[in-house]
Amino acid sequence: MINKFSTTAADAVADIFDGATVMIGGFGEAGSPIELIHALIDHGAKNLTVVNNNTGSGHVGLAALIENGQVGKMICSFPRTANSTVFPDLYRAGKIELELVPQGTLAERIRAGGAGIPAFFTATSVGTPLADGKEHRNFDERDYVMELSLTADFALIKAKEADRYGNLTYNKTARNFAPIMAMAAKTTIVQTSHCVEAGDIDPETVATPGIFVDRIIHVENPLQESRLNAQGRTYP
């Protein structure tokens, strides 16, 4: 019987290796799989390339993973946060690499990676420094740049509900990057607050079909990044 439920976050992230590319869901704290990120901090894999729209806030979650020296490179669209100096300090010190990608191009590159499209053209960034060095091409009298797909060894995402097949739903705007990251990663690891029976999720409303999911852990009451930060918490 197919059963993708895993026992602990530690088990679920245990095979994330040094140098792996890890996509991490979330837009700010919405959808951030904080328990899985903390498990990855405990696990200790180093020299990771992390794909996330941001670079975390405060000293928990993604910011803590970066602060812990585990991230060699960030691929993201907006590495600034009002209340975090973790990434900026390391970046200015030359201790972390940054690939800055427009947000929609980032999303489409991830989706392309999951959909078996090695490259596509977009008008986004034409005429800007972010198009420098990229192949340009004209279609119907408009200029476009060619963008390459993004794939990952692992994705860590947060869902609202999950069944044993890995079918997922999300909560409101916490959906953001999770469905496409689940598609683009070789191994997709999910934390969910509701483990449900197969069939409990209406097949019309599955947001991520189980084929894109490998392991699921149950986190009934996930920590909330902004609350931890308001309390001045750090991790580990």
Binding site: L98, P102, G104, T105, T124, F177
Partner: protein, 227 residues
């Protein structure tokens, strides 16, 4: 036009700039609002019109800010502030959200600006300073994909440096993308000939605007004389 004429003040307040921009958005438009003054546009939907707000993190049908205590950390806008969803909203993932943008399905986007050039070039993401942390978000996608780009901005920086100029010195967000500019002093249309005056704010003289603009300000419709 519902803007109150304030004969004392010179120019428009931030709210009035937003109100003025909202007047130019057609009924039924799909609208994306940038962070800052553009967010205020949502407060000034002209009577008889309905706009649908898109926020690029994955919501169509964004509603107003929630009451204090009603915030949901999973329901935020692109500025990561708590929002609500209207009856008739839809959630979707980031690739679908930017398909709406890149595919030219959003009618109007209202953005802030660091610099706007007379050819419509926009710079609003980086000063290019060597120690700045570069951060672009969805700005480049929005200007490349949305049908009509409005800019709301103070006419000059706090230090009086012109933001409406002949050519941008900061790194571009997009080339030739801006249609209209709403400042505290005036409304300007970006045309193939350059900046054209559409309207002056109350008690603002043409010469004042020209003085604070580092590009030729055209007035083919003699707005200056009519004011």
């Amino acid at each position: 036009m519902s803007l109150e004429k304030n004969t004392q003040a010179v120019g428009w307040t931030r709210d009035q700039m937003a109100e003025r921009a909202a007047l130019d958005i057609p009924d039924g438009s799909y609208v994306n609002l940038g962070i800052g003054i553009p967010e205020k546009v949502a407060r000034y939907v002209p009577q008889g019109r309905e706009f649908i707000y898109h926020t690029e993190n994955g919501l169509l049908g964004m509603g107003p800010t929630p009451e204090v205590g009603e915030e949901d950390a999973d329901l935020i806008n692109a500025g990561k502030k708590p929002v609500t969803a209207i009856a008739g909203a839809a959630y979707f993932h980031h690739a679908d959200s930017f398909a709406m943008i890149r595919g030219q399905h959003i009618d109007v986007c209202v953005l802030g600006a660091m610099q706007v050039a007379q050819n419509g070039d926009l710079a609003n993401w980086s000063t290019g300073a060597p120690d700045a942390i570069p951060a672009v978000g969805g700005a480049m996608d929005l200007v490349a994909g949305v049908k009509t780009i409005f800019v709301i901005t103070q006419h000059t920086t706090k230090n009086g440096i012109a933001k409406l100029i002949e050519a941008c010195s900061y790194p571009l967000t997009g080339q030739g993308v801006v249609s209209r500019i709403y400042t505290d002093l005036c409304v300007i249309e970006v045309t193939s000939k350059g900046f054209e005056l559409v309207e002056l704010a109350p008690n603002v003289a043409f010469d004042t605007v020209q003085e604070r603009t580092d590009a030729k300000l055209l007035d083919p419709n003699n707005i200056a004389e009519q004011s």
